[in-house]
């Protein structure tokens, strides 16, 4: 009787031991794997840690673009303004240099190009006979890529179907 009891006890303990060993092994493996992925993640974090600041700098770059555009539209008649414009261009290119060094690339878009939602975001539609429907007729804001990630899509106006 006691032998059977002992046998049962032994079996129970064996089962428990296996369970614990398995649990421990799994835990170790999980931990090592976690460390590996964490290492990868850390690399990612380092890569994108400047994403936030880059995003705010891009807003300033937009400001320069808008300033230059507005200037070309309204202030270009006056010859004496040329040097001011040149100065603004230079400040803008300083900022661009900084961003490029941080790994920021401008998304190249051509007017008349087909929409690609991986890089473009449609802000509005407009009729324009010169263009096929669903092609880009105007770029409102430039898009930017930071280390292969689209941090801001290029914002565009798309041609509507002509009626």
């Amino acid at each position: 009787m006691t032998d059977i009891k002992k046998q049962k006890e032994l079996e129970k303990l064996k089962k428990e031991k296996d369970e614990y060993l398995k649990g421990w092994q799994r835990e170790r493996a999980d931990f090592i794997n976690y460390k590996k992925t964490e290492k990868e993640r850390f690399k990612e974090v380092v890569r994108f840690s400047n994403e936030r600041i880059v995003k705010s700098l891009i807003a300033i770059l937009d400001g320069f673009d808008l300033a230059i555009e507005s200037f070309l539209k309204e202030g270009k008649d006056k010859k004496e303004n040329d040097n001011y414009l040149k100065g603004i261009y230079l400040i803008k290119s300083q900022l661009q240099d900084i961003l490029e060094k941080e790994g920021v690339d401008e998304i190249k878009v051509k007017i008349g190009e087909k929409l690609n939602p991986a890089f473009h975001e449609v802000v509005a539609m407009a009729e324009d006979e010169k263009f096929d429907p669903d092609t880009i007729i105007k770029i409102l804001e430039k898009g930017y890529i930071l280390n292969d990630k689209v941090i801001r899509p290029c914002r565009v106006i798309l041609a509507k179907e002509n009626k």
Binding site: D30, F48, S70, E74, P117, V122, V123, L140, R155
Partner: protein
Amino acid sequence: MAKILGIDLGTTFSAMATIEGGQPKIIESAEGERTTPSVVAQSKNGERLAGTLARRQSITNPENTIYSVKRLIGRKFSDPIVQKDKSLLSYEIKEGANGGVEIKMGDRWYKPQEISAMVLQKLKADAEAKLGEKITDAVITCPAYFDDSQRKATKDAGEIAGFNVKRVINEPTAAALAYGLDKNKDHEIVVYDFGGGTFDISVLYVSPDTIEVKGTGGDTHLGGDDFDQKIMAWVIENFKRDEAIDLHKDPLALQRIKEASEKAKKELSSTMQVEINLPFITSGASGPKHLSYSLNRSKLEELVDDYIKESIDLTKKTIKECGLKVSDIEEIVLVGGQTRMPKIQEEVKKLFGKEPSKEINPDEVVSIGAAIQGGILSGDMKDVLLLDVTPLSLGIETLGGVNTVLIPKNSTVPVTKGQTFSTAAENQPSVEIHVLQGERPMSGDNKSLGRFILDGIPPAPRGIPQVEVTFDIDANGILNVTAKDKATGKEQSIHIEGSSGLSKEEIEKLKQEAELHKEEDEKKKENIEIKNNAESLLYTTEKTLKDAGEKVPSDLKTKIEDKAKELKEALQKDDFNEIKTKTEELSQSLQEVGTHLYQQQKSEEEKKPESEKSDEETKKDKEDEDKEDKEDKEEKDAKDADYEEK
């Protein structure tokens, strides 16, 4: 074992998480974002898009871009909610064969669950790419008010996407799980979920074996997006008043204002005032126009006051409908990005008279809870649930009554930490190890867990003996403190059982006290440090003067002795500012001795060759160096301890 994906399938956004290394973790989308828009589209060239890409093209393709499908899933077409929402949707819907809803996308009609499945498929593909393994099992969440048909449809969506849906759980339950429910007692909790497009309030009854939804309420068309709209309207109105230009018709201006408004709203959760600056927003007859307004927190609160009031009224109403009083609610959990707004947190706190749980990212808490449910089902969480953390820091009392922490609070047990300490007086024969629990820097303000004495330390100058103190907490929370003299190998230890046996209230009280006294405690600690530094400098001074003997010119010696006397007097008066100044003065004078000694040595060396330097002298130099090393180490240790406390 295959991983289980926890999915928060939201009305506007979805998120996913899984268990990794025993901890829940959010999985990012292929676009690198922590949430994915719940949007699906069929582009004009027949390509199917899901998530961010679908959203980017929505304006060009409104009739084939399907969003908010969660509002339709599992409902009859005749359902008044469907009828009400119908007019708000840009895509076409009709009554299907079995009375359900069907949605037109491209040239086909889809069931809502098929559309949801496309969102889930995108999540599945992204998760598999990120994790590098196939995922089949999932736990999906749904609102607590979903009926059987809506739950079934949610499950179907998962199955269509290729998941083996282990369970469909309630969003509020998932949120509560993420916070780790106290299942040991029966109690009621409220989950206040203010998302982008919907506001949900749920009352849950938690008991040892069940979590029951007692009641739900809310507004399916109230969310954070409404807050953005309010800010946009305010900006546009101001601009119209100042410049007489309506920006509503300018798509780029609108886009920029929308982005700036959202950003301003988010920033006002952490700052009191933001600048909304949009240069060259448009141009008028007299050239370019700029937009620049400053928005402060109280103005924002005023703008959205009605919304917040409504949410609080709905909360009260729901609790009343459950036959409960506000005071019956023991825990409140905040979910949804909008709950980051301080005013909302404040109003919720005011209503319940207690602090809501808000530590976990409110955008992610539901998916994290779903992942935890998945982890429990697969056994991944079993071990983790057993592992406890130390609720308060554990440390020992050191010179001047300072609490030096060895195991900081929230350390997962089992854990072992050790640090080397030394003596504070000459020829000190024993050290007393006083074990403390708590967050306050001065030992007297903390709970004393026990004390013991390690004696038999051989006579030595202060700072020389090395006593290694080790704290070990085993998986059962039993603390074992050992002190060992490295020179003799002699050791003493103490077992402290139930070191974490404080009740939740006691722990909370201790933590709050620490917070309350933070400033004065820091001051006190700083003063002790000033005092300790002064005393240690006095000791060094005496020793230096004695060791150097005749080598110090008498005028310098007198100067130093005077300074030392002044410092001693300052110490007696407990005037900390003066102690600090006098310590600095003495330290500077003492440096002159060093400079002088080196100069002397140099000139002597020049006189006699190296080989004549006696052995004894070299040996003595070496001893001094060793001692300095030790002192450095001690100082470093002390600094480490400081660092841990923060």
